[in-house]
């Protein structure tokens, strides 16, 4: 069975896996974005809290995802739970970091000007600081998503959902004829998903970043 035949035969299964993969990543990203930006907003004004958040996030990023999943299994069990926890946790990190850097990077004279023309704290955050910090935050979201695509594949080993299962099925049947097809289908599927997501982010960037601060 060549690769195309394999794809044709297993279309249903593959599409379901791809959908699950994308949906897990997407949902975790939504949660991660909300929490990440919130953490950024809460911590960036304090030197101490912001740096702590940045340090913690970069430390967690250093931890290999398989080890993280391994640590989560005794706590939350196998299956969807460790996957979702690990994905959300890793997804948070680049967003928190970029939100803090982005918010801190807003020109202080602009904040001063905003204060000077009578904008309240909330107004400044919503109208000035967040829009100006949005490009780096969006970049954080892109980076997160790409990372999660790969981590989600590994999470399949802990019975998580998605295209990773395809890859692990291939590894389990090494030497059989279908091994290559399975691994290839899973890997290419994840690449395609990642590129699709990325394209969507480019589009979102086009639509949401004002022309005045676009590159």
């Amino acid at each position: 069975m060549n690769f195309w035949e394999y794809l044709g035969n297993r279309r249903q299964q593959l599409l379901a896996d791809a959908f699950q993969h994308a949906s897990a990543v997407f949902q975790c990203m939504v949660v991660a974005t909300a929490i990440g930006v919130l953490i950024g907003v809460l911590t960036y004004r304090s030197q101490w809290a912001g740096n702590l958040a940045t340090t913690v996030t970069s430390t967690i990023l250093t931890i290999p995802s398989l080890a993280m999943i391994g640590l989560l299994i005794p706590v939350v069990g196998l299956g969807v739970a460790p996957t979702v926890t690990a994905l959300t946790l890793y997804g948070l990190l680049p967003i928190v970091r970029n939100a803090i850097v982005g918010l801190r990077g807003v020109d202080p004279t602009l904040v001063d000007a905003a204060k000077g023309i009578g904008m309240s704290r909330l107004h400044r955050l919503v109208r000035i600081e967040l829009p100006l910090a949005w490009p780096p935050i969006l970049t954080g979201i892109r980076v997160s998503t790409q990372m999660l695509m790969g981590i989600a594949a590994i999470a399949a080993y802990a019975s998580g959902p998605g295209l990773g299962n395809e890859i692990f099925r291939g590894i389990a049947s090494l030497g059989s004829k279908n091994a290559l097809n399975q691994v290839l289908a899973g890997t290419l599927g994840i690449i395609v998903l990642a590129l699709l997501f990325d394209a969507v982010y480019v589009l979102i960037g086009r639509l949401t970043i004002p022309r005045g601060i676009r590159v």
């Binding site: 680049p94 982005g102 910090a133 780096p136 970049t139 990325d198």
Partner: protein, 310 residues
């Protein structure tokens, strides 16, 4: 900053002024600290889009003043030592069944650890030997056209799941350390390469012009100006590669390459939490330790003149 920020402190609530934390290890908040900062997209995008803030994501430009402080040297190893001690104590009193005993006996843990370190060290060596010269080459005039191709490849690589890449290599090269090593190297070459290219390009063109202007040969400019300026970046690349490789090496187990991943997968498949935990904890400790060592190396080896940039 704007020239009007002079004289007496004017800010009503000076956000950073005189903060007691300026010397703490936490000031080390620059982007270069994390493996994923290597992503060229992140760099280009955020740096450009938010250009006013002096490119926060750039591995070179956003560097804060760094010093080797005693807290930096002691805190992390102390924490790791405590973690290891606690794990050891727990194992000393824990009741292990035969499967767990089996998985952990005969110096298997030591072997896994040694394999993991080996995989990381060897792969990092090759990554640096391949990626940095290639990066330098791709920023020379003759080969500059190749750079976008490399960048595009790196971006694609970023989207490739490590486990998929490894599995493909295992199918191609057969089970064993060779496939695992190849996979780890390929996976880390691209980010380090794009980091190198981005960093060399970020060098101030006026400096290079000045260097040429005082009569340096192209080789002289490279050796005396560009590379020294790029040292922090290359060190960041080393750190990136190391951390990334510790992570990818956990996956070597799926290709029969050994490493600490063996303990984790054995724990998961046999449902033995002690084995799983031991593997995970050792991996985490190793990753953090390697990152810490690399960060120290960065501090010690960076040229003095490039240190203070606020």
């Amino acid at each position: 900053m704007t020239p009007k920020r002079r004289g007496a402190p004017r800010d009503p609530e000076p956000p950073h002024a005189g903060s007691p934390y300026t010397d703490s290890p936490y000031t080390e908040s620059s982007y270069a600290d994390t493996p994923y900062a290597a992503s060229p997209r992140e760099e280009d995008e955020a740096a450009g889009a938010a250009g006013r803030e002096g490119a926060p994501t750039s591995p070179v430009a956003a560097r804060q003043p760094r010093r080797v402080t005693w807290r930096k040297v002691t805190v992390l190893p102390a924490v790791l030592a405590v973690v290891l001690l606690a794990t050891w104590l727990w194992f000393a009193q824990a009741d292990l069944d035969s499967i767990s005993e089996n998985a952990l006996s005969d110096g298997q843990v030591g072997k896994a650890l040694r394999q993991h370190v080996e995989l990381t060290a060897i792969s990092t060596f090759f990554v640096l030997v391949i990626a940095i010269p290639l990066g330098i080459l791709l920023t020379r005039r003759a080969f500059r056209k190749g750079a976008p191709v490399a960048m595009a490849l790196a971006n694609m690589g970023q989207a490739t799941p490590a486990i998929g890449l490894l599995a493909l290599l295992v199918i191609w090269l057969g089970i064993g350390e060779k496939a695992a090593l190849t996979g780890i190297i390929i996976y880390a070459v691209l980010p380090v390469l794009s980091n190198t290219i981005a960093g060399l390009r970020a060098n101030d063109p006026t400096l290079l012009e000045a260097a040429r202007g005082i009569g340096m040969s192209p080789l002289g400019v490279l050796a005396k100006v560009e590379l020294p300026l790029a040292v922090p970046l290359i060190l960041a690349g080393v750190r990136t590669a190391l951390v990334l490789n510790v992570g990818t090496a956990t996956l070597a187990t799926f290709g029969g390459g050994g490493g600490l991943g063996v303990l984790i997968t054995t724990g998961i498949t046999n449902q033995r939490m002690p084995v799983l935990l031991l593997g995970s904890i050792l991996t985490v400790v190793l990753a953090l330790l390697v990152d810490w060592l690399a960060s120290l190396a960065e501090l010690v080896l960076s040229p003095r003149g490039l240190e203070v940039r606020s």
